[in-house]
Symmetry: C2
Subunit: 339 residues, 2 copies
DNA sequence: GACCCTAGAGTGAACGTTCACATAATGTCA
DNA sequence: TGACATTATGTGAACGTTCACTCTAGGGTC
């Protein structure tokens, strides 16, 4: 009832060579567009490649070249839309450059997260694009040093030696949000953070904290959601409002949690934005279907993906920046109905 | 200003062997838990492995074993939430089994879509999980035959020789939806399809078409969205309502398009669900934040992912089912405010 | 003591490619 | 015409691992 392939062996470069009456190396040269192949020979080889539907074995190639035209992408949660969009953008950029992606979810049980990255290396990836995770900067630095691996980080704007970071200009974003909220007459802001606070994702928190201090001179009220879901966001928002019912604005660390906050306010009979204004981060498409539509700090997923790919290529060619490099993206506040 | 790794060469099995004073093969045996290794020797080797932080090169291994403990996942669009969730589920299941994922977006420019799958093979994947795509059943069948590749499809319930399909019971789902709509007094149903109609994703369309015929004996009114986005869904819904303004229910092929339809109705001043009822497919989390919340045919992404992984393991071990196999998932209609 | 068996360990070859070098044929120029 | 480039192609080794086999030492059996 089951089928064992008759002879599923894919043709190798040697099969092509024999059929075309040349040596392996000549076929190899045709494959890599080497100039010194007689056009006649090239044509013959190409014809055989076509006939046999030959595709070079990526692993055999990587084994000797130490280059796989592949890079790894690691994230804590693939279900995050900002990640999915960036990933899709990376894929598009990568394809043009002949690259491929190995996508991995970071193992939450992994001691420090580095283990997953090391595993990625066994695929022979030429580099890794890492999304916000629990991995500490020091660990990343030593990982890069130890393995000579190109690493591009998206979303954490820290300057780590050997690493290129691509991130939102968090201080600017925070100022833009607070400017907008004060303009709307809001004066008491609560923060809805994800589970990575307070361990590693300081930048967003710190930026908001400072902006709140500078703008309205208020003590920050932070609450943490166990997971970045609508339901956890709702619960966290309700905790927040229970702690301090003077809060008239909530800034959530992403749109999903912001939607949860909207539900929480609704459950408590609070009007949005009159009683409580709500702002999210990411600018996911579903933000426009809430009532009222969600005001959000847009992250240009696609642009960041392209930049990440470019940075990756540069790092592969010229080596990683020794000092570390940070590319900040200008904040873009999409003002809609929740503020 | 840039750093070239000093000696980024990872330790090989030979380094381990030398340091432990044994042969490569003995190290290899330790790695694969071969029984005939003296426990003393094993301990010594394991210590060295630990010290050097050695990890076997996956590609060198795959080259000789023809097995990589990796499988490919291919989809037309990574941004689709049902895909993202399934992918996350696959990742979780895979990790337990020691497997890894290579995720690829199908190249839309690719003639028939098979090219992308063939490329996936160059990674030495042990199998491929394929999401709905334009690739025809016949092409898939010959692809599997030609390459002896294990293929599991999610979302298209067609019986294709050599392929395991995991899909919603579309006829059952369609009947459930139509039963619910007629119960609500609806009698004229429009369909909002995605761009893959009418070429390949017949099953959902056919199931709904038949259910409409059987239940309310009406001619089906189908409209196609160019892309499965909110905006395209909105435009398509408005086209639909322009064609026939008696339509009192819209079934969209996924939740995202259904949300677009909600916007379209809103733009036309139609009340939901009084004037027009709306049903989506997938059961994404954001369906609960619309007003009113979206009624949807839930797809158990996580369960399907687990089943897909199991099917993959079975196919790898015992060969693909010669006849083809279809696992249907029971429909689960989540009734909320739009109906 | 001759025999076989078994546990434990090692060796050459293979996987499919590219690299570095070698070779052969052709053309160029003093 | 000989020396030397240049172009086109081929060959052995290497990448890091496992497979199939061989070898050795020790123990049991008759």
């Amino acid at each position: 009832m089951t089928q064992r392939p008759s002879d599923p062996r894919r043709p190798t470069i040697i099969d092509v060579a024999e059929l075309a009456g040349v040596s392996r190396q000549t076929v190899s040269r045709v494959l890599s567009d080497h100039p010194r192949v007689a056009s006649q020979t090239r044509a013959r080889v190409e014809k055989v490649i076509e006939e046999l539907d030959f595709r070079p074995n990526r692993m055999a190639r990587a084994l000797v070249t130490k280059t796989s035209l592949t890079f790894g992408v690691a994230s804590v949660d693939m279900r995050n839309l900002h990640f999915a969009e960036t990933c899709s953008g990376l894929q598009t950029a990568a394809r043009v450059g002949g690259y491929h992606l190995v996508v991995t979810e970071l193992d939450r049980d992994d001691d420090d997260g580095i283990g997953t990255l090391e595993t990625l290396l066994t695929f022979g990836v030429d580099g890794i694009v890492l999304f916000p995770s629990m991995v500490s900067g020091a660990d990343l630095e030593s990982f890069v040093k130890r393995n000579g691996c190109c690493l591009v980080m998206i979303g954490r704007g820290a300057k780590i030696p050997g690493v290129v970071s691509i991130a939102l200009d968090e201080p600017g974003a925070a100022r833009a949000i607070l400017g907008h909220l004060t303009e709307r007459g809001k004066s008491r802001v609560g923060l809805l953070m994800n589970e990575m606070f307070p361990r590693f994702i300081h930048t967003r928190y710190e930026a908001l904290h400072r902006a709140i201090e500078e703008t309205i001179g208020q003590f920050t009220i932070p609450v943490e959601a166990a997971r970045p879901t609508i339901e956890q966001g709702r619960q966290a928002a309700m905790r927040l409002l229970a702690i301090d019912d003077d809060v008239d604005a909530i800034v959530a660390f992403n749109d999903t949690m912001a939607m949860g906050a909207m539900k929480g306010c609704h459950d408590l009979g609070l009007r949005i934005p009159e009683d409580v204004a709500i702002v999210g981060y990411d600018g996911i498409a579903y933000g426009e279907v809430t009532v009222p539509p969600l005001t959000t700090m847009v992250q240009d997923s696609f642009g960041m993906a392209e930049a990440a790919f470019e940075a990756m290529l540069t790092s592969i060619k010229e080596g990683s920046p020794r000092e570390g490099e940070v590319q900040l993206w200008p904040p873009q506040l999409l003002i809609r109905g929740t503020t």
